[in-house]
Symmetry: C2
Subunit: 110 residues, 2 copies
DNA sequence: CGAATACATCGATGGGTATCGAACAGTACG
DNA sequence: CGTACTGTTCGATACCCATCGATGTATTCG
């Protein structure tokens, strides 16, 4: 199920791209926060994840996560609702998302 | 158990570093080849993994994998024997290594 | 000792990327 | 309509990184 042309279809997901998307500390926080709240708008997620970055930088990270296939973006009024592509990720990379989500926080902080 | 000062101890492993190390296609091939053969010297692993890169580039990748904690390097005569740090990775990031190792090849190739 | 093997390191280069502020575009609302 | 809100895009900057050839170092072997 393709959302639109800005999201890759499941068959086009690639492990190196996904790993690179998850390798950034800010994006890792976004993904783990999304897992807790289910779905969220950009502004709200930025607060939930505790990110002190500019809105343009957040937008950049959102794009990287979306283009790698990690998250899904749905438009609702004036805001974009972000959510994890759990099923697609589990189908392509079994166990990967869970491993990233369940890693202890002490192994993430610098 | 610390090998030497060029390897991080288990408590110092960090998820973003490990993910970044695994996010490169060449290094991903090295890790998956290491999983098949158990352990291997540099020259032999380069052939096993089917990598057509220069020796200096291979040495660079080996260093990244080592400094992130993904692999272990042991000196044996004039050669270095590489192997995965399975137990340490499983202890810090349960399920991550298996997920990377068991991902279908079609999701790795470009 | 001398030659060959196995890797590491250095310096250079080109391409990627994280970051920001400023400017832009769409929606909601009074 | 005009203001506020939500988010994207653009251009610039600084930094990181993958790659290579050349050089250096240690080990093995004859």
């Amino acid at each position: 199920m393709l959302i639109d042309e800005t999201h890759p279809v499941t068959a086009d997901l690639r492990l190196p791209k996904v790993l690179a998307a998850l390798a950034d500390p800010a994006r890792l926080l976004m993904v783990r926060a999304l897992n807790r709240v289910g779905e969220s708008s950009c502004t709200r997620l930025q607060q939930t994840a505790g990110l002190t970055i500019s809105r343009s930088t957040f937008s950049h990270h959102q794009r990287v996560l979306r283009e790698s296939g990690v998250i899904q973006v749905r438009v609702s009024g004036s805001q974009r609702i972000l959510s994890l592509r759990r099923d697609d990720l589990d189908a392509c990379f079994p166990g990967l998302l869970n491993a990233v989500l369940h890693t202890a926080s002490k192994f993430i902080e610098t």
